[in-house]
């Protein structure tokens, strides 16, 4: 039976798709979201079982190539310095994310004017601010107001506990005179919106069994569905179709039985993330769009930004929080804004880590030679167990066209849709920033009293932020979507996920991805009468 046409078809039920669906629901239009993955069952998350740490490397791995669920698609990353991390299901990446939830800083929207790199965004902090505030409430953000690294903003719930680790770090920061502050996190520290408060399970990145972490399956989606949005799982979109007028007419997708179907729609919204979205656009070729849909600029798939990360850890004489509590709970913006004397432009956030999990301590210890085989294993393990403290530096990645997503000529997913191929190298600016961050991280840990420093730079599997591959802008020859997310080429096609980022900033992106989705939804609502003009 043919599918009925819908007013708005959103593809992808992750961070941005959920926010858009909820915001558009009050228009009373017929809104359908198609998601290739499943609903999650929190009672099956690893932290409910004794073997929870083992499951981090199998069906809850952050790498789709390792996880290999039926609902995943493979990614060819052999020519990428950094491997991709994602999750495919209702909630998208928020199922596994750490919930570290910073906003962009005002300067992040103006990299070109301030530092002559990248491009300026077509919008600014003030325009996004009201949507940051809405997103704070919808996701439930905890933190402490008054951070001098940001314009004034209110948080919804109190910060995560400082813990033993935070106190050690805080003392060291104060000794050095560096900025530090409790992080904004999308983790409920009090009971909130039907969700129970965080009880420090320490397993955020394999799904939150408590429901305290704001994955969109427990935040936006229940509200959107109650408001009438329809969400269909196990629908994998292959391509967007166009009519003779060059407008999107709907999508071809595979249903749960693998059967090909067509879903007609008046408006199509892409929310498949910075890799999934260019993949489907590039796969949507036609006589009018031979190089892929919305690609007259040739920029679909280009300018991929990941955020190079350095991980710096130290071994302390005193006890840290170890495996307890959400890993990321403090940040430092000391090196965030450009200082030319450092030898690079733009900057990074230091995200403090409370410590390591029990098995992770053993695995890292043995593989790095700090824990020997045989005699001495147990003493060495005990010296590290609950005595590790660390941080990661999340460095601003600048847009470069050669960093890109294309379609792999051979590799496909289980429905035969071409898999994405990633080409990505680190720039010299990124490398200098990473090196500087490692030096500063080492200085901080030594101030904490750390005896040994362990460094991983860049983190090879740390491509969890997927940005820039269908950038926004006002010039159709230099961007894929306009200032409010509409494709320059196809006037009923919108893109709302991390693809539309112009630059990456030195912060985790999801707060900004979702606030942008809310902003675009708001712009659409204001223009409903002449949306396609």
């Amino acid at each position: 039976m043919a599918n009925e046409p819908v007013d708005v078809l959103i593809i992808g039920a992750g961070a941005s798709g959920a926010a858009m669906a909820w915001s558009l629901a009050d228009t009373r239009m017929h809104i359908l979201c198609m998601e290739q993955g499943d609903w999650m069952n929190p009672s099956e998350y690893p932290s409910t079982g004794m073997d929870w740490e083992s499951r981090f490397s199998s069906e809850f791995s952050i790498s789709p190539n390792e996880r290999k669920r039926e609902t995943d698609y493979p990614i060819n990353e052999k020519d990428s310095a950094i491997g991709v991390a994602n999750f495919n299901g209702v909630g998208g990446g928020t199922i596994l994310y750490a919930g570290h939830f910073p906003r962009f800083h005002p300067s992040d929207f103006r990299a070109k004017s301030l530092d002559d790199v990248g491009d300026d965004w077509p919008i600014n902090y003030e325009q996004l601010e009201p949507f940051y505030n809405v997103n704070d409430r919808m996701m439930g953000v905890s933190g402490l107001s008054g951070d001098p690294a940001y314009p004034a903003k209110q948080t919804v719930m109190p910060p995560l506990p400082m813990g033993y680790s935070g106190e050690i770090m805080g003392r060291a920061f104060n000794k050095l005179g560096w900025h530090w502050w409790p992080s904004d996190v999308a983790i409920a520290t009090t009971d909130y919106d039907g969700r129970a408060r965080c009880i420090n399970l320490g397993a955020c990145s394999s799904g939150c069994a408590q429901g305290a972490k704001a994955s969109t399956d427990v935040t936006y989606w229940p509200h959107a569905i109650r408001a009438g949005v329809e969400l269909k799982t196990r629908c994998r979109v292959r391509e967007i179709t166009v009519n003779d007028d060059g407008m999107a007419s709907g999508v071809i997708y595979y249903d749960e039985n693998g059967d090909e179907q067509f879903q007609p729609a008046e408006v199509v919204v892409m929310a498949c993330n910075g890799i999934g979205t260019p993949r489907i656009l590039l796969n949507s070729t036609s006589t009018s769009f031979p190089d892929g849909l919305a690609n007259s600029s040739g920029l679909v798939g280009k300018n991929l930004m990941f955020h190079p990360y350095a991980n710096i850890q130290g071994v302390l004489p005193e006890e840290t929080d170890g495996y307890r509590g959400p890993t990321l709970s403090l940040w430092s913006k000391e090196f965030y804004e450009t200082d030319a004397s450092r030898g690079f432009v733009r900057g990074f956030t230091l995200e403090m880590h409370r410590g390591n999990r029990v098995v992770r301590t053993a695995l890292n210890g043995v593989m790095s030679g700090r824990i020997p085989w045989g005699e001495g294993h147990h003493d060495a393990y005990r010296r590290l167990h609950n005595h590790i403290l660390g941080m990661s530096a999340i460095c601003e990645d600048l847009p470069e066209e050669h960093n890109r997503v294309t379609l792999d000529p051979d590799l496909t997913d289980s429905n035969g849709i071409p898999a994405p191929k990633i080409d990505y190298t680190l720039s010299e600016n990124s490398q200098r920033m990473l090196d500087f961050a490692v030096e500063r991280g080492t200085e901080l840990l030594e101030t904490c009293g750390a005896s040994e420093i362990l460094v991983q730079s860049p983190i090879p599997f740390g491509g969890w932020h997927l940005l820039g591959t269908a950038r926004m802008g006002s010039d159709p020859s230099r961007s894929v979507v306009n200032e409010w997310g509409r494709s320059h080429d196809v006037k009923n096609l919108f893109i709302i996920d991390g693809s539309i980022f112009v630059t990456s900033a030195g912060v985790n992106p999801t707060q900004t991805i979702q606030s942008l989705a809310l902003y675009i939804a708001d712009q659409m609502k204001q223009r409903l009468a002449n949306l396609f003009d």
Binding site: H179, W181, N200, A209, W373, G374
Partner: protein, 156 residues
């Protein structure tokens, strides 16, 4: 019925090599009163965990025996500790992926064993539903940060 044998994705020779490697990596300790990774219960869990990578385990373990034969003219398990360690070091250099898989499976199972967790002062339970307590801390530690004032860069 011996479930280990019937369910075992690897042969009995391979199982002996695996047990031998597990005990070299994590031997029993009198000092901490804990078993080694070749303890029967732990080994049975290691073997189930290895099932997911059965082919690479079979190949990897056979290579230990083949190398022992070529270098020492005997099988791996018959060697003394020093010779076994020499072979481990050879494979650390030459088969890092297999060594990573071996260490990963062994330590995952070992450090999730109830007896081992207790010896580390951990409660032998999953994190959910009880969770853990952490001190709230004293946010007046931020006073110097506040005193320094705004540090964000104006943009427009």
């Amino acid at each position: 019925m011996n479930t280990i044998t019937t369910d075992n994705p690897i042969s009995s020779e391979q199982t002996s090599i695996l047990a031998c490697l597990a005990s070299i990596l994590i031997p029993a300790s009198d000092k901490y009163d804990i078993p080694g990774a070749d303890d029967e219960t732990i080994m049975s869990d290691i073997i189930s965990a290895a099932r997911e990578h059965a082919e690479s385990f079979k190949t990897g373990l056979d290579a230990f025996d083949a190398y022992a034969q070529s270098e020492f003219d005997t099988d791996f398990v018959s060697l003394d500790h020093d010779d076994r360690m020499a072979i481990v070091e050879h494979f650390q250099d030459n088969a890092p992926h297999f060594i990573h898989a071996l260490v990963s499976v062994t330590v995952s199972v070992y450090y999730q064993d109830t007896r081992v967790m207790k010896s580390l002062g951990l409660e032998a339970r999953p994190p959910f539903p009880e969770g853990y307590e952490l001190p709230q801390g004293d946010w007046s530690m931020l006073d110097p940060v506040k005193e320094r004032g705004e540090i964000w860069r104006k943009a427009d």
